[in-house]
Assembly symmetry: C2
């Protein structure tokens, strides 16, 4: 199948996913008390408080799409997993609200964050409410897999938050004080855990066995790490598909993203340059020089190769759990899609 076709399959899957889960997300938001509802409506882009016309925020819906695709791969009906898929998206949304508080971020996708538009208290409490609703959505569907799904969801939250905490702690450490292993573990927790959880939930809802569920979790985690590597590259050099997205903010914050840490540990002269830049404040010029040093130190190439390696591992896990890979076509299309962005 040509690449363009595969990309289209993923785009269509994501659009179908958004159409199916949006009513559940909206019902959850509508059930919130007024003071919270306005914050959540604004965050999702359904009702803007800044006077701009409403327009749904371009959430990729990749996580709930993985739930559906995993259910399909094991012969399950995606419709049975719709609440689990919505719960996973609620968790993702909760992390965005709290991450903006943790990082004191003013904007996300060119719009003010809830933290900026409404303040820290509103962003914290609405995040709390969405986190509380995620297991409730699952508990409500009365599916035999609900209890196991809830336990996975809770463990996933803990891992996600530990990953976020490590990410934040790394920013304050000296350049050589973050090992590549620690950085990979952080990325696996911060990003891989929820993609793994999404795939595991889909398998659980299709009645897959324990080993298959574990393999799907591993597939999602490896694909998630590939996703994070590409995201880190975009964070430094921008997304060719989205010209104008600001790049370099992570470098400016002394972020220890994977390409940076790989570059720092390369033993090259460029690594020494990069470490020296990271000792000081990072203005616009320093950010450009740092990006250049990461590239010359091999951080960019390493990240691209390592993303491909992680995708290969993901496919290995998938092939172990779903021997007939044609059933796993949607999963492959989605994994391919999220790691294709760097062109």
């Amino acid at each position: 199948m040509p690449d363009a076709m595969e990309g289209r399959e993923a785009v269509e899957l994501l659009a179908r996913t958004r159409a199916v889960i949006t009513p559940h997300l909206r019902a959850t938001v509508e059930s919130l008390p007024t003071s919270m509802r306005r914050v959540a409506l604004d965050h999702f882009g359904w009702e803007r408080t800044d006077g701009a016309p409403p327009g749904a925020r371009a959430g990729t819906a990749i996580r709930p799409a993985l739930v559906f695709a995993a259910a399909t791969a094991f012969g399950g009906r995606p419709e049975a997993a719709v609440r689990a898929a919505a719960a996973v998206e609620l968790l993702h949304t909760f992390t965005l609200l709290h991450d903006d508080v943790i990082d004191a971020d003013a904007t996300r996708h060119h719009r003010p964050t809830a933290r900026t538009a409404f303040g820290i208290p509103d962003a914290v409490v609405v995040g709390d409410a969405l986190l509380a609703f995620a297991p409730r959505l699952i508990a409500e569907d009365g599916h035999p897999a609900a209890a196991a799904a809830s336990a996975r969801l809770a463990a996933c939250v803990v891992e996600l938050r530990a990953g976020r905490q490590a990410d934040r702690a790394f920013e304050r450490r000296a350049p050589h004080d973050v090992s590549l292993d620690a950085c990979l573990a952080m990325a696996m927790a911060k990003t891989g855990a929820l993609l793994g959880c999404a795939c595991a939930l889909g398998a659980l809802y299709a009645g897959a066995g324990e080993e298959e569920v574990a393999a799907m979790d591993a597939f999602g985690r490896e694909a998630g790490l590939a996703f994070q590597l590409i995201d880190d590259l975009i964070g430094i050099w921008g997304d060719p598909g989205h010209a104008g997205e600001p790049a370099g903010a992570d470098l400016a914050a002394h972020g220890k993203s994977l390409p940076v840490v790989a570059a720092l540990g390369s033993g090259t002269p460029a690594a020494v340059e990069l470490a020296a830049l990271y000792e000081g404040a990072m203005g616009e010029g320093a950010v450009r020089e740092a990006a250049d040093a990461v590239e010359r130190a091999g951080g960019r190439d390493w990240a691209q190769l390592h993303a491909a390696d992680r995708m290969a591992r993901a496919v290995d896990h998938l092939a172990g759990a779903v021997p007939d890979l044609t059933a796993a076509g949607e999963l492959l299309a989605l994994a391919e899609f999220v790691t294709r962005r760097s062109g």
Copy 2:
């Protein structure tokens, strides 16, 4: 039974409760990744990071004690509800961690808050983790009431956070811009909801019917409102049983606590004085004058009478659900205990 005996019964109940739930709370904390565990161990007072000798934080354990007492009132075995009781205490702990972020509080019970000792990111993520674990504890016990209990827990979190959000929003409003009704609704959400949830969970775990569970929720809510009224009085005039606790911080923050709002709406000359004081910054002198004005405007007497009225309503709900009040002795002792503090 003489008052001193009743007070002793409650104290013993609370001590037994702490002994029973602490292993579950510790197991939850021990299961956290290291970076989160140290924050939680410090918050609970089990391992201090400030060099001070460890000593369990004097958590009253009133909420889990209500779970056990409610189970007992309906002939249930309290042991069957131990995970539900621990879950309720985890929720309470999560609210403390996030409230300190929301209010930017530096100390709690004379000790630095997690926000101060570890920073906003750590306080946010550890609160998130405890919130995620609460429904998991309940899901794990496989009790037939677990699903209903989880749904109540999630609804309770939303209400608690909406109450906290309102509390915070009220601080910024003009003195006459917060009605007593709005303030009572805020206190019911902020404090009553979790006490009501605790009582409802105990009844659920004892196999009580829907109406009985609703009545127990109402009992806990009314007792919780009485609790909040007494807490507001202590916040202004201090706790005679704990000389040295700083009072007046809420007045300094222009807090719209129940005695203050009742005083502001009293139509007395003292209400005008109080409103004028609240127009400006609240130094030490202004806080003293404001406390005096609240008293002269009748806010202190109103709060004490209204707390007694709420306790009477609580007992009415209880009597409707548990006709033989001797079975409800523990619930009455606990409710009496938490509203006795003002002497």
